[in-house]
Every structure is written in structure tokens, then in C-alpha cells.
Symmetry: C2
Subunit: 276 residues, 2 copies
């Protein structure tokens, strides 16, 4: 179930710049009941990332067609869309934008088997040693340079720890290895600023939007480890798990969440995240 530039294939050319330089962007999309959730938001982010790297705009109609052709009715799956700068010679210099022929890899994968109690009980959050390096030119983009996440995720094998918190070089909290993070401190919803590093998560944005609709005060700000310890509630989010509260972070335990289930319920009703 893989389309490479629209054709069924399971291989790409060895000269692809996605392989050589991580020169590309990607999206991970939840598919539920045969529908790709928040697909418009994902394709807008894909376009924004492609523009930031100097690719020509992706052909959204073409991608939509290919996405449709892969999904069966009632399917539950994970769809990954990868867009690279395409084939290239040796050397960092990219072709001029008019000569760029991006590669498009769209694949379907099994839905991850989350513990069914996860949303009731919350997850265990660890702290990663691997830091996120800061570069405003790349911050926010879901690009293919993901070695920091790989090294961070390789720090633990204990399956009871679901996610690891990553800090930047200043010690500020940024995100999890595969999720964004929200804290509730004094009734205010807080999420780290991603001006220097981190990924602008689709669900992060949806959470901020629905918080505004529900008149919940929300702020994007610098956050440190002291904030996570004084938070009354902490939750992580991404396009697959939706929202899930943190039960324990290091030695710190949290009371049952109030806001997280409410926001999650709202986004499920809007059909933006999977209902599980």
C-alpha cells in the first residue's frame, strides 16, 4: 500500500535527496472509518514546509486523489505522506525551484495498538537527555532531519514509559519525541513556544483553536521544568493518539485531568482526531 509519485512501488531512487540530506517534509495522518482526519490541515502544513525549504508547491489535488485511492471504506490506519526535493546529483546545492521535481511517497500503515486504558489512566512521561538544537530557519517544520528524535527515543526501552520530554539547549521544555505538550497552570492552558525548535503539531493548533471556542485561556510561552512540576494537569497530543493526559512525570503524579478529556471530546466531535 505505497504510492511513489502516484504509482504502486516500494522503492525510491538511491539518489533521492530525501535519503542523502533529509531534504524533505512529511505528514502522519490518522485514518478512521475510511477518512483521513484533519487532512486539509496536514496538506496546508506540508505546503508550508515545502515552501520553507524552497520546493515548488505540492499539487494538493493530486495528493488528495492518491490518498483517496489508498484508503478503503471503514479503514482504520496511519497514512504517511513524504515529500522530498527529488533526485539530485552529489552535493548540497539544490536544483533551481523550476527544475525541482519532488518525490512523493504515500503509504498506509497499521494503526498503533495503544493500551485501551491509556485515555482513562494517562501515560507515563520520562525526560530525555538528548536536547533539541535551535534553528529558527527550521523550527516548526516537520522535515526529515529527525536524528534528535531518534536518539531521544532510543534512550528508553521500558514500555511503561510512553513518551519522553525533550528540552532545548537552554533547558526550556519544547515537546515530546513524537508529540506536543500542554500544561495547565493556575487554570491557564500553556504550550511551549516553538520559535527556535520543535514541530508545529496539527493537533496542537486544533487544541488552541478549540480552547478559544470554549473560552479557555491559552498561552504560547517559554516553559521550564519548574512549570511542569507546578502544573495541575499535563497532556500530550499528536495526530495518532489525539490527546492523552500525563499520569506521572518522573516522580511527580497528577490528579485526574479535567480539561484534557473535555478538549479531546470536542475534537473527536469535530472529527479532527480519532475516537479510538
Amino acid at each position: 500500500m505505497i504510492l511513489v509519485n502516484g504509482r504502486p512501488s516500494d522503492s525510491i531512487h538511491t539518489s533521492d535527496r530525501g535519503l542523502h540530506y533529509g531534504d524533505g517534509v512529511f505528514e502522519t495522518v490518522a485514518v478512521e472509518n475510511g477518512a483521513a482526519l484533519a487532512l486539509e490541515e496536514h496538506l496546508l502544513r506540508l505546503q508550508a514546509g515545502a515552501r520553507a525549504l524552497g520546493f515548488p508547491d505540492p499539487d494538493t489535488a493530486q495528493i488528495l486523489n492518491e490518498v483517496d485511492s489508498l484508503i478503503s471504506p471503514d479503514q482504520r490506519a496511519v497514512m504517511k505522506i513524504v515529500l522530498t526535493r527529488g533526485r539530485g546529483g552529489r552535493g548540497y546545492r539544490p536544483p533551481a525551484i523550476d527544475d525541482t521535481v519532488p518525490s512523493r511517497i504515500i503509504s498506509l500503515h497499521e494503526w498503533p495498538e495503544y493500551d485501551p486504558d491509556m485515555y482513562e489512566q494517562g501515560i507515563v512521561l520520562g525526560l530525555c537527555k538528548t536536547r533539541l538544537s535551535q534553528n529558527p530557519a527550521l523550527a516548526g517544520i516537520k522535515h526529515l532531519n529527525r536524528l534528535e528524535q531518534v536518539l531521544a527515543r532510543n534512550e528508553w526501552r521500558d514500555s511503561s514509559v510512553f513518551e519522553g520530554l525533550m528540552l532545548d539547549n537552554d533547558g526550556d521544555i519544547i515537546e515530546g519525541t513524537m508529540s506536543n505538550l500542554f500544561l495547565i497552570v493556575d487554570g491557564v492552558l500553556l504550550t511551549p513556544s516553538l520559535d527556535s525548535c520543535g514541530i508545529h503539531g496539527i493537533v496542537r493548533k486544533l487544541v488552541m483553536d478549540i480552547a478559544a471556542e470554549l473560552e479557555i485561556n491559552c498561552r504560547v510561552t517559554r516553559l521550564g521544568l519548574e512549570d511542569i512540576e507546578k502544573a495541575s494537569e499535563v497532556f500530550i497530543c499528536n495526530s495518532l493518539l489525539g490527546l492523552c493526559h500525563v499520569r506521572t512525570y518522573q516522580n511527580h503524579s497528577y490528579d485526574p485531568p479535567v480539561l484534557c478529556p473535555q478538549l479531546r471530546e470536542g475534537l473527536i466531535k469535530q472529527q479532527k482526531i480519532a475516537s479510538l
Copy 2:
């Protein structure tokens, strides 16, 4: 002229972690008169990079065989060796090291057509806006996360500018987009410390070694833009061009070089860099 895991092929599997995360390392080797120059040094760095990322040790004998099989007598070419963590499922978490089956892509490419006057006249060095982000966990490694170099190299199309200087977030000089850098200040050979970012170039190390043999004082240190302006001589180095002095940096011109040709001559004699 491409071997993928030892077999002639021009494709890799779409699930390769090299593509999805830049989860791999690479080497670029000069081939002259049918010999891969400084190959032992390159394979040692490949091994060090693989270890740093948690790969099993590459099979050096196997790579040497494959390298030999690709090169014809008297050939002049560029050889690229890419080693990734191999195929994987979706998700950052790498397989356990014992379950890791790396992908090996060895390819031959045309020798770059340098201007024959380049070593006489020196090159023009520009200054890139794109900064190098700092992460000691990845510093020095020639890994496949190279978007910063791609963005930096995309800043100019003027072919009279040969290389662009890159700074880190602190404004320290680190390297060029595709080369390391040396300055001569008050008769001392200086090269930037790469503790936080940058690539530990093979020729950079060879230059330091031969400088020691020639009893030229050499220091690895923090360097800023003020240092490049007060230098009597500046040169860049990498495995393809060897060493080449800088004629102008921004509005700054340099006198004909003294040390660079001497060091270059020495490394050519040792058959560590191409004689052009």
C-alpha cells in the same frame, strides 16, 4: 555504478530510515588513479559515526571489497558511501542494535570540474545567513541530517562564489557548507572547535597531523568573524578539493598564501588528497 547492500541497484526500500529520519552516516571519498584516497580514515570515521548513532559496527572488509569492485584502474571519480539504520516501521524508535540491519549504498560519481586556476588564484568565500544549530550529541558526525547545509548552499547561485561560511547560533565561525576552515593568525594555524556542531573532516585532521610533522603551531579554538578578518591566510579543505586558499572573503582580500600550498603539497605526496 551503485551497489546497494553489495548488489547492483539504483533503488532503496521506501521504508528505509535513512529516508524517513536521515538516520545514517556517509563518506565522500576522492578516487584518483584507481585508488580511494585516505580510505582507512574514512572507514574509521564511518565506524565512529555508526557507533555514535547506535548502529552495529559496519563490516569494513565487506565495504572494502565493494569499493574495490566499483573502481577501475586509473579511474578518477568521487565515491560516496552511505550507511543507514536500514528498514524500519513507522516511528522514531530504532530497533535494538542486535536487530538492526543497516543499509549500505556505495556509488561512484563524476569528478567535479574545478576551475584549473582555482589552486593558483584561490576561491571566493561568502557568508551564509543559515546558522548551524548546536547539539554536542551530533557534533562532528557526518550524518544524513543536512538540511542546514542545503539551505545555506541554496543562498547563492553566483558561480564565482565557491563556498559559504557558516556560523553557529553564538556567531562563532564553524565551517563552510561543504568544507572545514583554517586561518593563519600571527603565524599560528587555527581551526574552529567542533564540540557543538560541524563535521570532523578527514582532511581537517590530516592537515593538523601534517602541521605537527612540519612543526607548525596549530590550535583548535573558538573563532569569530573578527579572526577571519585579521588572518594573514585562510584556506578551506575537504576530501575532494583537498586544500584551497581563500582569495577574498566578503570585502576582504588576502595576500598570496604561504602555508596552504606547503600543506597541500605534503598531503599530495602522502597520497592522502588528489593531486588534481
